[in-house]
């Protein structure tokens, strides 16, 4: 089954299955992508009534659909901040978990609980807490913290996987050459795990950029993009919603492709460095 050169019948069956699965994953998004280019008189479903960028322009008219520009800016800034914090805190905690320390399993299970606890609980809890101590919830304060409870577990789990495969002899060699702990981190550990760190950052960014449930009670008076989108689903019934969906999906893709490209460059640079020596 595995090493014979002839493909078994099940292979073709499973390939078809997998192709259908991929179609299932992408089909709906592609549909609204196409429908977002409806003409001005077009509706929410097919057939296409002409072809235009009408609904994209509509998106940027302030009064029509609320504060799209502002919420997009806030979401991007928040996602960037969450990305940086996730990378730094996950790396730091990942390093800690390589050693034995008291309370490590408590902290580990706390992080797992943070991952699987229903998001609405986090949102409600943080909202109540901030209300009671009299601090106004804000998208850059309480929402930042609530997003971290969602991104850090993923970051930590990735760091676990990374350090499980990490060859400690590189660090030992650096230590033998009298490198300080900071130098070891800066010149040995970080360059070696950089692609994974970029991955953690990418994860943190997209998780935060899309996070809705953990934001509803923590963002305060200013909406982030997912909140804005959710608001629109209840009162907007034009293809402007599809334009918004397509645009945000496009932004996600740009971020992902940009990151993959950076990874590719890093890999090439590393190959060049190791090849040159």
């Amino acid at each position: 089954m595995l090493n014979s050169n002839r493909r078994p019948k099940s292979f073709y069956f499973l390939t078809a299955f997998f192709a259908l699965f991929i179609l299932f994953l992408y089909g709906p998004t592609l549909t609204i992508g196409i429908l977002s280019f409806q003409g001005p008189s077009g509706g929410l479903t097919f057939p296409m009534n002409g072809f235009s960028l009408h609904w994209y322009f509509k998106l940027f008219e302030q009064q029509a659909v609320g504060d799209f520009g502002g919420s997009l800016t806030r979401s991007l800034l928040l996602a960037l901040a969450v990305m940086v914090a996730t990378v730094v805190i996950s790396l730091s905690a990942g390093m800690a978990f390589r050693k034995k320390f008291k309370g490590s399993s408590v902290l580990f299970y706390l992080t797992i609980v943070s991952l699987i606890i229903p998001s609405i609980l986090i949102s409600l809890g943080i909202g109540l807490l901030f209300n009671q101590i009299g601090i106004e919830p804000t998208w850059y304060g309480s929402a930042f913290g609530s997003h971290l409870t969602w991104t850090l577990p993923f970051g930590l789990l990735i760091m676990f996987a990374v350090f499980n495969r990490f060859d400690k002899s590189y660090e030992a060699a650096a230590r033998d050459m009298c490198a300080t702990p900071f130098q070891i981190l800066r010149f040995v550990v970080i360059p070696l795990i950089l692609p994974s760190l970029v991955g953690v950052g990418l994860f943190g960014f997209t998780l935060s950029y899309d996070e809705f449930a953990r934001t509803i009670m923590t963002a305060g008076s200013k909406n982030t993009l997912p909140l804005e989108i959710f608001g629109m689903t209840t009162n907007v019934t034009t293809p402007v919603l599809y334009a918004l969906g397509t645009l945000t999906t496009f932004i996600s893709f740009v971020v992902i492709i940009g990151t993959l490209f950076t990874l590719h460059l890093l890999k090439r640079r590393r190959r060049r460095i190791s090849g040159g020596e």
């Binding site: 089954m1 099940s10 292979f11 499973l14 390939t15 299955f17 997998f18 991929i22 994953l25 992408y26 089909g27 709906p28 998004t29 549909t31 609204i32 429908l35 929410l44 479903t45 097919f46 805190i89 730091s92 800690a96 978990f97 034995k100 320390f101 008291k102 490590s104 399993s105 706390l110 609980v113 229903p118 998001s119 609405i120 609980l121 986090i122 409600l124 809890g125 109540l128 807490l129 913290g145 409870t149 850090l152 676990f160 997209t206 950029y209 899309d210 809705f212 449930a213 509803i216 009670m217 989108i229 959710f230 689903t233 599809y242 969906g245 945000t248 999906t249 996600s252 893709f253 992902i256």
Partner: protein, 282 residues
């Protein structure tokens, strides 16, 4: 020791975030669930009225029944699809490159907003949607199928669409760690491909299946957006009840609902964790 001290220092930021934004808020919910409230404000108190009302209300029990139905159905479907997809990638694709490409293909949709992915079903499933138009032009049906959108069907479809990946990734991970010699040995011993799957691969990917199950179960149990959007407000889940109470500023009632939901989820997890040692399997 210096080593241990640096570990404390390094884990301190994570610890603080978890303390301030997870532990204390959860305690806050527990405390507030015993508070009183009127239409204007919440009043610190120690009463059991919130729980009393919650647990004796038929609405709660219906919501729990509905939520469990969603969770179990979505779990079964995501497991079936997720296992098959992971099995295909792990055992039928021969090169790492093909595996990586397929893996990325399956992961990319996960990176776009859940709400957008839900809305995307509307032009497909609606009364005048693509599916109905197609079925009608093929002459298979005379009038649009009404159950496609704003129904239990569309809710579960959206869950499967959103969460199958949470099954694929852990199952694929544990499958990649299966020693290929075991599969060959089974074939040499005369096992049919089906027997290989049921006797070798399924038992050895148990931990991946468990982790995927934990994800899908907890995500569906706490969900309110999918249920609200995809049922068109016709159906209520536990999460949605809590969300509605939050919207009405009935925080103590919402908190009591949240504590009950948390207890339910924790009991389920305690059962599931018996099937996997999560720390070892990661």
């Amino acid at each position: 020791m210096a080593n241990e001290r640096s570990a404390y220092l390094q884990s301190f930021p994570l610890f603080m975030i978890m303390l301030i934004f997870l532990v204390i808020p959860t305690l806050m919910i527990v405390i507030v669930s015993f508070w009183d409230y009127n239409s204007f404000s919440v009043i610190p108190d120690f009463i059991f009225d919130n729980y009393n009302f919650l647990l004796t209300s038929p609405v709660t029990w219906q919501a729990y029944a509905k939520t469990l139905f969603y969770a179990v159905t979505s779990w079964a479907i995501t497991l079936l699809i997720g296992f098959t997809a992971a099995y295909y990638m792990a055992f039928h694709l021969r090169t790492t490159k093909a595996q990586t490409i397929c893996f990325l293909l399956a992961t990319v949709p996960f990176l776009t907003s859940n709400i957008i992915r839900m809305i995307s079903w509307i032009p497909l499933l609606g009364r005048n949607g693509l599916v109905n138009q197609m079925l009608q032009s093929l002459g298979l049906i005379n009038q649009p199928l009404e159950f496609l959108l704003y129904s239990d069907f569309s809710v579960i479809l959206a869950f499967v669409h959103l969460y199958t990946l949470f099954m694929v990734v852990p199952i694929f991970n544990s499958m990649m760690r299966i020693d290929r010699k075991l599969v060959e040995a089974a074939i040499d011993a005369g096992a049919s491909p089906w027997q290989v799957v049921t006797h070798v691969i399924i038992p050895l990917s148990k931990s991946g299946i468990t982790i995927g199950t934990i994800f899908v179960f907890t995500l569906v149990m706490g969900d309110f957006i999918t249920v609200r959007l995809m049922s068109g407000g016709l159906s209520a889940s536990v999460g949605l009840l809590i969300y509605n109470e939050i919207s009405l500023l009935q925080y103590p009632a919402a908190a009591a609902g949240a504590v009950t939901l948390l207890a339910t989820v924790l009991i389920m997890l305690a059962i599931l964790f018996r099937f996997a040692n999560i720390r070892k399997d990661l």
